[in-house]
């Protein structure tokens, strides 16, 4: 079995006439936390959707566990997805089902386990994210952080080989953020799986990542361990990792000179 779980080669992808990926290639190992980072709008979430087969590449290939995702039939793709978990930015909980039923949903859909067994499994998954006591609540009664933890319990319901996290820390208070950071790390270690975290939250993401890929303008800018990126000589990487306001990514959006815009030039 290869140590590489996700292999992306020469990936090109455009949407609405805008080039999002311009020939990127990267490998994601079978175990450990891999972070995909970059400024907003660089296509990090799009990359997760390409890995999950929700979007199709214009050119290039995306292989997951040796299978080319975009050449699979719908039934084979659905079989592959049963071994993938995904945590959406919004949680994506089914709003007409309780917390318990949300976590039970993939188990009921894909197994023939009896209700007693499903109950045990669901309570164990909810216990892992600290929300066993919230099993009977509805999604509308949960905070943002709790919703994501329930979604995480649902993502691990079928014991997947990989979990993709789409901006898991966005909009979280410090306590929820701390819980999510430690949960991602602990679950990854306990289940010994591949975790792909898409985020632009630098300190927290770097603290739990084994490998980081920085993406910008459709290209991979730099890859390496968190330590390598923190000490990078690249100006762009330095600006992103340290959050500098100005640098290779300018503060101002490209525009005409200010005086020209204010009709003051020459006056």
């Amino acid at each position: 079995m290869s140590d590489i779980l996700v292999k992306i080669r020469d990936l090109h992808f455009s949407r609405g006439g805008r080039k999002i990926f311009d020939g990127i290639s990267l490998d994601i190992p079978r175990q450990g936390v891999t972070a995909i980072m970059g400024p907003s709008g660089t296509g990090k979430t799009t990359l997760l959707k390409l890995i999950g087969g929700q979007l199709t590449t214009d050119q290039g290939s995306v292989e997951v566990d040796g299978l080319n995702v975009h050449e699979l039939s719908t039934s084979k793709l659905f079989e592959l997805r049963q071994r993938m978990g995904m945590l959406f930015q919004s949680g994506a909980l089914l709003t007409d089902l309780s917390v318990f039923e949300n976590v039970a949903y993939p188990i009921r859909e894909h197994t023939k386990l009896n209700n007693a067994m499903i109950r045990h499994l669901v309570l164990l998954k909810l216990n892992a994210v600290g929300l066993r006591g919230a099993a009977d609540l509805m999604p509308s009664e949960l905070s943002g952080g709790m919703s994501r933890r329930v979604a995480l319990a649902r993502a691990i319901a079928l014991d997947p080989m990989m979990i993709m996290y789409d901006e898991p820390f966005t909009g979280q208070d410090p306590i929820s953020m701390g819980i999510l950071v430690s949960l991602i790390s602990e679950l990854n270690n306990a289940l010994n799986i591949c975790s792909i975290v898409v985020s632009h939250d630098v300190p927290d993401t770097l603290s739990i990542s084994d490998q980081v890929h920085l993406i910008s303008a459709g290209k991979i800018v730099e890859s390496g361990t968190p330590e390598i990126l923190k000490n990078s000589q690249s100006e762009w990487t330095h600006q992103f990792v340290h959050g500098d306001a100005d640098g290779p990514v300018p503060f101002h959006y490209p525009a005409k000179p200010l005086l020209e815009d204010l009709y003051l030039e020459g006056s």
Binding site: G52, M84, M86, Q89
Partner: protein
């Protein structure tokens, strides 16, 4: 000036092409939904839940509207027929109007406004909150679990609702004709029985309501599934559902009436 004209023609062409592209997209979507309806055989509970939501919860507005439409029809028919001494035909007039036209058409319009818009909003919101994407990533086909039950529930509910509309409308008409206007109860029912034909009037009305049910449900689920997942996109999709369904129902009613009742 020539450039401006060419620009306008290009713009018109782009709009026309876009409309046909969307129609083709909607057609493929309908085929996928129909194929996905087979999943209801395995999971009938999904359909039953939607029948309650789409059908039963629309019942009140259908009954209230049906009663009033029947009562108004009765009054108007009486005022028109009494001058010719033909007021005993009020029952026939009410029954034929409701069974052939008003039952299917008004029910479909109310259905589009109440259930159709709710379907679009619900599916659109599920899309906006990534619930549909979440299902796909859980290896669950949203077409089978979300779209098909709602579409099928709409198709099944419409003829039932239209039949109930016509039935309560005739009862409303009876109350006005017999208890308000003092017409003979026997004449009301016997004339209706003699002039209303099961095949020409009742069955054709049911066929109309099935067609309207397919069209209104198709538009509602397609608009929800295809909407731009923003609050503005969702609002526009809901509006489109009501407008397009209403126009489609009225247009199809003309076509079906011409085909069914031509002599």
């Amino acid at each position: 000036m020539l450039n401006g004209l060419i620009d306008r023609i290009q713009h018109l062409g782009a709009i026309t092409m876009g409309s046909f592209q969307r129609l083709g997209h909607a057609g493929i979507f309908l085929l996928q939904v129909i194929v996905s309806c087979a999943a209801m055989l395995v999971r009938p509970r999904l359909l039953i839940k939607q029948l309650y939501s789409v059908g039963v919860q629309t019942l009140i507005i259908i009954i209230v509207a049906g009663v009033f439409v029947g009562m108004v029809m009765s009054l108007q028919s009486y005022y028109a027929l009494v001058d010719f001494g033909a007021e005993d035909s009020v029952g026939v007039m009410v029954a034929l109007s409701l069974l052939r036209e008003l039952g299917p058409v008004v029910t479909a319009l109310l259905f589009a406004g109440r259930a159709g818009s709710a379907l679009t909003a619900e599916i659109g919101l599920m899309k906006a909150t990534e619930q549909l994407s979440g299902m796909e990533m859980m290896a669950v086909n949203p077409m089978q679990r979300v779209i098909a039950p709602r579409f099928l529930a709409g198709v099944i509910s419409m003829p039932l609702l239209a039949t109930i509309f016509s039935a309560v409308g005739i009862l409303g008409g009876y109350v006005v004709a017999v208890h308000m206007l003092g017409l003979d109860s026997g004449a009301f029912w016997s004339q209706s029985q003699a002039k209303v034909d099961l095949y020409t009037d009742v069955y054709n009305g049911i066929i109309k309501s099935v067609v309207f049910g397919v069209v209104a449900s198709w538009i509602a689920v397609f608009e929800g599934y295809d909407c731009v997942p923003t609050s503005e996109g969702l609002g526009q999709a809901t509006t489109r559902t009501v407008v397009q369904s209403s126009l489609a129902i009225l247009f199809l009613d003309f076509i079906l009436t011409a085909l069914m009742f031509s002599k």
